[in-house]
């Protein structure tokens, strides 16, 4: 048993990777789904085991092929990435039962197995980025997850899915290439690719080569920001989410951007923060205006959107603004708020997109005008949508409230009360766009498109209800979300170099 425990970091990535390869040999869609569900189900077990191990006995260092770092590739699990691993794997595992009917409805029979193969590859890439301690290895996993997500998006029924996937491919590749340029510059000045080792050597290197070090930060920052859809680098996201198959949208919205945010946290706090004084770098100065612009402009765009999937996609851009705002605050409460919102938003958006997927399954449309009265014909689905929507707004008692509470406390602690005010004001815009959907769903006469619709089969309904329940549950019991996030923020902030004192 202990031999197995020692291999857990490797297994976290190897199981879904081998699973993806084997899924490619399966022809029947139902069988491929069963296989993918089985593989996905193992990943949260491994992730939880890692989290417990890290929580009780500190960070784990796993040497691939027995080569010690910094020469070999190291998988390094600390509380931050164990937390993200649990999030990504758990949300995927909860969503998996949903995939069977939804994918069978939206994708041709002979392509379903390939869909699950790509899904598993994407999961592999996301888990790999999160677990690795090597900058170049992270790039390879980034491309594994990106390439497979382009395919997932392109499998949407609408021909616009192809164009959305192509645009995402162009922008995603530019982002990944910027990331490699940044890593290359860091490699040139430090001679290392291991995150921890770069951090150790960077202080000395930046005294000698100040400009490449700063240029490296700029490239890494822009590259990762393209991936996490930081406003105004988000243009690929609305179409990609709108035209992808329902399950792919829910999966990517809940996991892919979150992993990119994790990578940004890693670069800012575990590399640059350790070696240089973060206050002397213009990170917050860039993140504040962009985050606030995202919170307002993307929310307002969501209000004017009539396609519900696009509306939620814009809302995702806005919510990412809250997370990056938490990063920009760089104090205990603010960073806790950012990280806990990363967790809560994954649950909330997962639930919302699954609800839309259920509506697509029964009514075949997500155009707001066609969905009048859907709340009466699909009561449970719409109830879940409303509950998750309330959490998105940050109604007290829901998970979204916890995130916003910490962010506001963080803003006040930083002495920036206008930002605290802006957080509340932008939440009211969420009330408008969610409220508009609720108005159509419950207070309009039943339209022809949804007249014969009913709640989806149990296999689709249960994951949706579980995620909607979770988006409320984590507003009451905050042990796993805010508790761990607070500890993570503490560790990240204690590691960084503070101006003046070393």
């Amino acid at each position: 048993m202990s031999a197995l425990t020692a291999q857990l970091p490797g297994l976290q990535v190897v199981i879904p990777l081998l699973g993806a390869v084997l899924a490619a040999f399966i022809r029947r869609g139902a069988l491929a789904w069963g296989w993918a569900a089985l593989i996905t189900a193992t990943t949260p077990v491994v992730a939880f085991a890692l989290l417990v191990q890290v929580w009780t006995s500190g960070p784990i260092s796993y040497h691939l092929g027995g080569w010690p770092p910094p020469i070999g590739i190291e998988y390094r699990v600390d509380l931050l990435n164990a937390f993200v691993l649990v999030l990504v794997s758990l949300v995927s595992a909860i969503m998996m039962p949903y995939a069977r009917r939804s994918v069978a409805h939206e994708i041709d029979g002979d392509k379903q197995a390939w869909f699950y193969c790509m899904y598993l590859l994407c999961l592999t890439g996301l888990l790999g980025i999160t677990i690795t301690g090597d900058a170049f290895n992270a790039f390879v996993f980034l491309e594994i997850s990106s390439l497979s997500s382009y395919v997932l998006i392109a499998m949407g029924r609408d021909r616009r899915a192809l164009v959305a996937a192509y645009q995402y491919l162009i922008i995603g590749t530019i982002g990944a290439t910027f990331y490699v340029i940044g890593v290359g510059l860091l490699y040139l000045v430090t001679g290392s690719l291991n995150f921890a080792d770069i951090a150790l050597r960077l202080g000395e290197a930046s005294a000698l080569y100040q400009r490449p070090v700063l240029a490296g930060l700029a490239f890494l920052f822009v590259g990762i920001s393209l991936k996490l859809a930081l406003f105004p680098l988000h243009v690929w996201l609305p179409n990609a989410y709108a035209y992808a198959p329902s399950f792919a949208t829910a999966f990517l919205a809940a996991t892919a951007t979150k992993v990119a945010i994790y990578l940004l946290l890693r670069v800012i706090f575990s590399i640059y923060g350790v070696a240089l004084d973060l206050k002397s770098l213009p990170i917050s100065a860039v993140l504040y205006p962009l985050s606030i612009a995202a919170m307002f402009i993307a929310s307002i765009l969501a209000v004017y959107e009539t396609n519900l999937k696009r509306m939620l996609a814009y809302s995702s851009v806005a919510q990412i603004g809250y997370i990056t705002l938490g990063i920009a605050l760089m104090n205990q409460a603010g960073l806790t708020g950012g990280i806990v919102h990363l967790f809560n938003h994954a649950l909330i958006k997962g639930a919302l997109f699954l609800a839309l997927g259920a509506i697509v399954y029964r009514a075949g449309t997500v155009k707001l005008d066609n969905l009048g009265g859907v709340g009466r014909t699909m009561p449970l689905t719409c109830a879940a949508f409303v509950v998750a929507g309330m959490s998105l707004m940050g109604v007290p008692g829901t998970a979204g409230f916890i995130s916003k509470y910490y962010l506001i406390v963080g803003a006040l602690n930083a002495g920036m009360w206008p930002i605290a005010f802006l957080i509340v004001a932008s939440s009211l815009i969420a009330l408008v766009y969610i409220g508009r959907a609720v108005e159509v769903a419950y207070f309009r006469p039943v339209s022809s498109a949804v007249a014969h619709a009913k709640d989806p089969p149990l296999m689709m309904l249960v994951p949706l209800l579980v995620l909607a329940f979770a988006s409320v549950y984590f507003g009451i019991d905050t042990e796993l979300s805010a508790g761990v996030a607070g500890r993570v923020a503490e560790i990240l902030l204690s590691g960084i170099k503070v101006g003046g004192a070393n």
Binding site: L147, V151, L162, L169, I174
Partner: protein
């Protein structure tokens, strides 16, 4: 004169940057989807140079262990870029496959014409 000298001393970086900017410019400025992919390839290739050129140690031999030599070039960038090339090939292949499908679905690969057709719907 001094800045000219440093420019020529670092001509490999100059080439890298020219390729990088040219590639990125093509991606942004061209509406033809194949041309965009060509620009993207150029952009990625410039990064290969960024990594590989500094791996050469002046006076160093290829990194094969031999008693006669003491100075070796750094082999690690080559290995990294081998991986990056594979990733680049996969990206372009997928991009071309998507363009083929787009051409089947729309009958054109010009971005503005595609947007115009989507607008009409």
């Amino acid at each position: 004169m001094e800045s000219f000298k440093s420019l020529f001393d670092h001509y490999n970086y100059v080439v890298t940057i020219v390729l990088m900017v040219a590639g990125l410019y093509i991606v942004i400025a061209r509406g033809n989807m194949i041309k965009k992919l060509i620009g993207l390839m150029l952009f990625q290739t410039s990064v290969y140079l960024l990594y590989i050129a500094p791996g050469k140690v002046i006076g160093g031999t290829p990194p094969v262990l031999d008693a006669k030599f003491t100075v070796y070039s750094n082999p690690l960038p080559h290995v990294l870029i081998l991986t990056a090339i594979v990733v680049g090939v996969a990206t372009i292949a997928l991009g071309l496959a998507l363009v083929t499908r787009i051409h089947e679905a729309y009958g054109t690969i010009e971005e503005d014409e595609i947007f115009a057709r989507d607008e009409q719907e």
